[in-house]
Subunit: 452 residues, 2 copies
């Protein structure tokens, strides 16, 4: 893993850049002193024995099932989705079973009725296993999906239905846990101090990923490796601490937008994973001293080279309000040669590979941003493997934890989503939310344009 | 189509909102006076005869082909992708041919070698038709893809290979046009004054969409309907002009982020389409008078309810730096009932549908943002149909054109991407770019962290 952050620095790009890196000793100490306390258990990685327990439970299902479905949302979905997209074939579900070898994989992180019905159109429930994931055990969206699926399974499989459900939740607490115990589902626990968005290396990610044959041991090994250098006290050797310091410095300089732009389709959903970590952890009304600060840098997902033809115009010429992190890959797992051509305008392409072209475009875009005085850095993976993805996840989680400490906010809560939950309960007629429903009622017709 | 913008206004949400709508007469006049001139031919919609010509060419392929692939990027890809995602089954490519009835559909808007090889793993080239789309006829990425595919087709089909390629490009100009004439491909033209990001209702979108059986006549009819009300001189009847005025007012008030958040998986890629329009059209260094302004609001793609569990914490509690546009759907095409349950914590869900739940969550999120004093508006589609999608596209394009006039920028150029193109040519060894390569050379090893 290589971080190249020269294009963040004033010395390289001019006044748009950062003069130097602030001292991060305090933030470093606050994070590393609190390992294992409160919500900071996410870096206590699973042991080989625990990993083997998951693997051995999942292996027979992986070998025989037609499909695996994750029912979950937010932290219970983005991790498995990002890792699976990185490590499975990019058209996994469309491969023939003979080539695919492992089950099809679906992450259903929405309650759109068209999407739910579309899933049921293409899977054979009798040969499908559902991983139901909710840390609290109370997530309305996930429980709704579960009720629909379990009802269907019971109608088709009778008493065997329960063997098709795997619950990942907090042991001993919550609605999903109660149902799982009563119905005899296999249960995997989520540690008390592991929050949803930091949980991909717990059973939340490892169970569904093992069900589709991903090497979860190698994934965790990569995370273990990264943990070492992400806890290095020397910022010049600590990729996560350096990235946090750079992005926080950029934020303080007025860059309220943080673009993550992988140059690889396999890493596309790593941006979504990062966006949740960064947005939900740092976007806060109050700091740790209780001051109202309304703080937070907005993560933006982009994809190279695709979005060069959509967003780079804005990034290059628009306001100096963003910093860009490129994720690049040194060695792709496939190679694709551009054939001979004798057409004048494109003869410079012949004999090259798409591998060379995408690499050239990534470097060219970084150069063009630099020339326009725009901050950018590049995090380069040698190759996309379970190990390197485990590393990357750990870098992102440490970076977020350090940035939380630097900004003096609680990186682990999300008080801002409560109002919306209450309003949803009110609209769904839940007992006890009658007053909220009244508060929401509104009969004015001003500010509406209707065209039929 | 209903626009509800009450939650943008100070009267409703407090000091975070807009006091009133500025007079937009000048911007309105500058856009409507220039119809048909320069780059503003996009609203000259295709005639019924032209649409029928496309449809009748595409119908036999649609009836017999196994797959249709779009080779294009940016404006040549996002339109067809967004419309197809809205109107095809959400698991279209996974349906059995008997249920699907029309070809599988792929939009290949990247040059990642793993993605290109993954595509070739799952399609049967002999039964696949490729629409190669580039306005200039010179786009390196698209031409690379074309060379790879055409070489493969020639090896398999010999002289018949050309009948599997359909070129959509500027007639009489550019590398793709020259090749197409020489090789005898069917060619569809793109009007001179229609830029890539405004071209989805030209053959750029209509050809690939007709190849998968989408009712392109109804799509254009919807656009025609919207054109009427998007050119209404009264802003209180003109959804596009009002949305432009609101977003520009929000930008001037400090909201440099514009979030588009559909509450429907079918509309997910309409956000990508909008993001290109909004970002590339308005993100400019210079205004029309030549002043350096570095202007532009950054579009952010979000998806309800999914991103309530990822981004809403930030939107509700973070800085007052964004405005949110929800896209909601009154009537989904499928319905999904949540079954009976006797579990206490979730009995409020029973008997309801996912349709009701997603609708409640959209309204609840708008309410929660309003309560936190955050600007938001909701654009509501009756139902997702070819007509309503045609309407929505037209609203977005008019909104962007009006916003360009309000901000006094050229909404139709993209000078900021040239530097990156030149740097790519240099890195790929194109003759004439030797000096650029020297400019890019850099041997310093400072600001690099490598961990192995």
């Amino acid at each position: 893993m290589i971080l190249d952050y020269g294009n963040m620095m004033e010395r390289r790009i001019g006044s748009g850049g950062i003069k130097g890196i602030d001292d991060c000793a305090d933030a470093y100490k606050r994070v590393t002193d609190n390992f294992g306390k409160g919500w900071q258990e996410w870096n206590e990685l699973m042991t080989d024995a625990e990993i083997e327990e998951i693997r051995s439970f999942c292996a027979p299902i992986c070998a025989s099932a037609q499909s695996v479905v994750v029912l979950g949302i937010g932290g219970s979905a983005l991790g498995p989705l990002a890792v699976a997209n990185a490590l499975l074939h990019l058209r996994h579900n469309e491969l023939s079973p003979r080539v695919r070898k492992v089950p099809k994989f679906y992450v259903e992180d929405n309650i759109d009725p068209e999407r739910m019905e579309a899933l049921l159109d293409v899977i054979d429930p009798d040969n499908t296993y559902f991983t139901v994931i909710t840390k609290s055990g109370e997530t309305s969206e996930t429980l709704s999906q579960f009720l629909i699926v379990y009802d269907l399974l019971k109608k088709r499989l009778g008493a065997k239905a329960g063997s098709h459900i795997i619950a990942v939740t907090t042991i001993g607490k919550g609605t999903l846990y109660d149902i799982a115990v009563k119905e005899g589902f296999r249960i995997f626990g989520i540690g008390k101090g592991v929050g949803g968005r930091f949980s991909v290396l717990s059973p939340v990610g490892l169970v569904p990923l093992a069900l589709v044959g991903i090497d979860i041991k190698a994934l965790v090994d990569g995370a273990r490796k990264a943990e070492k250098y992400c806890t290095d006290g020397d910022i010049n050797k600590n990729i996560a601490l350096m990235m946090a310091a750079l992005n926080v410095a950029a934020y303080k300089k007025g860059c309220n937008i943080n673009v993550m732009m992988p140059y690889a389709d396999s890493l596309k959903y790593m941006s979504d994973f990062y966006a949740q970590l960064w947005g939900e952890s740092l976007g806060k009304k109050k700091d740790l001293s209780g001051n109202v600060v309304h703080i937070g840098q907005t993560p933006v997902k982009s994809l190279g080279v695709t979005d060069q033809h959509s967003q780079i115009q804005l990034y290059t010429e628009g306001p100096f309000d963003k910093t860009v992190t490129f994720l690049s890959v040194k060695k792709f797992r496939r190679s694709c040669l551009i054939p001979e051509t004798n057409v004048d305008g494109i003869d410079f392409l012949k004999g090259h590979t798409l591998n060379e072209l995408i690499d050239a475009e990534c470097k060219a875009t970084a150069f063009a941003l630099k020339k326009a005085g725009r901050m950018n850095m590049t995090l380069c993976l040698d190759e996309v493997t379970p190990r390197s993805i485990g590393e990357l996840i750990m870098i992102f989680m440490f970076e977020t934890a350090y940035a939380g400490a630097m900004l003096n906010v609680d990186a682990y809560d999300q008080p801002g989503v409560e109002e919306g939950k209450k309003a949803t309960f009110a609209m769904m007629g839940r007992v006890g939310y009658e007053e909220k429903l009244k508060e929401m009622s509104f009969s004015e017709n001003e500010y509406i344009i209707e065209r039929n």
